[in-house]
């Protein structure tokens, strides 16, 4: 049974549908990413999972329970890190951890958790005196202090420096290794690619794609990029005839290209093979030949529409 089940979720603010028929299921022990441009309905979707918002239509279940009707039972097993929230300014880190630990039936020991998040030296610092990154790390600790079965993290590493970001990723991987299911809202592609087993790409309130990171990259048109500087100009017709070709830049086919003589082609593995055959047949040498996969960024841009 999936730990989180969202079926045809709909939520409208005024007459603007923010979430318009979103469905996905997260299996136990999975790190599931929710990706999408601003305003795609990511936060509203996870707020429905957390029981903070009441869906207009559709079904949400967390460990088989309704997060609104069964709020308390769901909240006991679900740790949340919200995108925008604060604590009382004069509350110290230690007091916040103790307070939140007291909310749960079987809390984690907050001391190692605080150490792990680099808050060990800040226990007696008041919330109002913490830096943005420290506040963020405290909220991650508060999401984990209840020993949850499910954690929902909304913009986990926003405001963290690269080192803290990497340490946080490691922490999330460790948390998952302990069997915890993670629902992660992010707009860092690197984060999604590194952490997520599967990703739902949301666009304008709908699921535009749902796949593994590699699957998302594969399905985007022009998943492979081939670039080189030919020793002699290549025939335009030959290039256009390449199988699986999606785009060609800087070639004879594109005289308005960059003019440095470099050819950049996007296509599939088949295109790569055909290019090598073509080069061999025409005895053209490819200088600085590079073959790379497109990134999740490219796949993301491909799957979501530019704002109107």
């Amino acid at each position: 049974m999936p730990v989180i089940e969202v079926t045809d979720l709909r939520k409208t603010y005024g007459d603007r549908p923010v979430v318009d028929g979103v469905s996905f299921a997260v299996e136990e022990g999975e790190i599931f990413g929710v990706l999408g441009p601003n305003g795609a309905g990511k936060t509203t979707t996870v707020e429905c999972v957390e029981g903070l918002r009441v869906p207009d239509a559709g079904r949400v279940r967390v460990t088989g329970l309704d997060p609104v009707a069964d709020h308390e039972r769901v909240a006991r097993v679900l740790g949340a890190q919200l995108q925008q929230s604060e604590l009382q300014a004069r509350l110290t880190v230690r007091e916040a951890l103790e307070l939140y630990a007291a909310f749960y039936p079987r809390p984690a020991d907050w001391r190692p958790l605080a150490e792990r998040l680099g808050l060990g030296a800040k226990l007696d610092t008041r919330f109002g005196k913490l830096s943005g990154g420290q506040k963020q790390r405290l909220f991650i600790a508060l999401a984990l202090v209840g020993n949850p079965r499910v954690v929902v993290l909304d913009e986990l590493t926003t405001g963290l420096d690269p080192r803290a970001r990497r340490e946080t990723w490691q922490l999330i991987e460790d948390v998952r290794a302990g069997g915890v299911t993670v629902l992660l809202v992010t707009h860092f592609m690197e984060e999604a690619q590194r952490l997520c087993d599967r990703i739902a790409v949301l666009d304008r309130g709908r699921v535009a794609a749902l796949d593994t990171p590699a699957g998302l990259i594969r399905r985007s048109a022009g998943a492979t990029v081939i670039s080189f500087t030919p020793s002699a100009p290549l025939d335009d017709e030959d290039l256009r005839a390449l199988p699986g070709l999606v785009s060609a830049e800087g070639s004879a086919a594109d005289p308005a290209g960059r003019g440095d003589g470099r050819v950049t082609l996007t296509g599939t593995d088949e295109t790569v093979n055909a290019v090598i055959t073509l080069l061999a047949r025409t005895r053209v040498t490819a200088h600085q030949l590079r073959v790379t996969d497109t990134t999740l960024d490219d796949a993301f841009l491909d799957l979501t529409e530019a704002p109107a």
């Binding site: 957390e50 029981g51 903070l52 308390e72 909240a75 006991r76 679900l78 949340a80 919200l82 925008q84 929230s85 604060e86 604590l87 009382q88 004069r90 509350l91 007091e95 103790e98 307070l99 939140y100 007291a102 909310f103 749960y104 508060l142 209840g146």
Partner: protein, 249 residues
């Protein structure tokens, strides 16, 4: 009951935080007694005045000081804190835990109510020790009137918190309401000294009714049921309005 409306850890935290707010501590706990001490040190305030039934002004100002801390706490202290908690997402963060944010509301009420009672006891003690003001002759009635007054003040504070979307609005509305409330409590003119008609009108307001009930109990009688009923009615009306209008975010 499945929802935790009272939570000891939340209450302990709010108490701790209250002790870290020097402004709130001063205005709610000490300012009424400081005011009493200043007025009491004016010699003419310690002479019997036939206009207020032979009482000395300082006698009439003890119940005023008793009500003052409660007025400040209910109209300024609690609404500021609660709207701030809402504005900054503190209530929201707590909504995502097994403990309902109502626990923060109830903890604030206990802290503010407790501070108001302490402030009242302090004013009574200083009045007795420094200015020889007699302690209430009907202590049970006095305590009952005081408790009902605290509840009315807290429900007024809850309604203000419910209606004010931001701390700025809560501050402005709280200050605007503070002066009429202080007037009714008798800060400028003790109710005993008010003309009859004015005293009767003021008696319909929560703080006016509280002042009259406290005065009756101080003089040795049981506080008038009509005054106590006015306090209860305000509490019921304000609380139900507050609970219907309160938003957690």
């Amino acid at each position: 009951m499945t929802t935790d409306v009272f939570h000891t850890a939340v209450l302990r935290t709010e108490l701790r935080l209250f002790r870290r707010e020097p402004g709130a501590l001063f205005w709610m706990l000490f300012f009424p007694t400081v005011l009493l001490a200043i007025l009491g040190s004016i010699p003419s305030f310690r002479e019997a005045d036939p206009a207020i039934g032979g009482l000395r002004p300082v006698d009439a100002y003890v119940p005023v000081a008793v009500l003052l801390g409660l007025t400040v706490g209910g109209l300024q202290g609690m609404p500021q804190v609660l709207t701030g908690y809402r504005e900054r997402g503190i209530l929201r963060r707590m909504s995502a835990t097994p403990v309902r944010p109502a626990a923060l509301l109830s903890a604030q009420m206990v802290v503010c109510g407790g501070a108001a009672l302490l402030s009242a006891l302090l004013a009574l003690a200083v009045g007795r020790l420094a200015f020889d003001v007699a302690l209430p002759e009907q202590p049970l009635g006095y305590l009952l009137a005081l408790l009902l007054a605290v509840l009315a003040a807290l429900s007024l504070g809850a309604l203000l918190s419910a209606l004010s979307r931001t701390t700025k609005i809560a501050g402005a509305v709280g200050s605007a309401a503070l002066f009429p409330a202080m007037f009714c409590a008798g800060v400028w003119l003790p109710v005993q000294a008010m003309p009859d008609l004015l005293a009767r009108i003021v008696g319909w307001t929560p703080f006016g009714a509280a002042a009259q009930a406290l005065n009756e109990a101080a003089a040795g009688g049981w506080p008038g049921w009509s005054h106590l009923a006015v306090l209860v009615a305000w509490t019921v009306v304000l609380t139900s309005a507050a609970s219907r209008r309160f938003r957690w975010e």
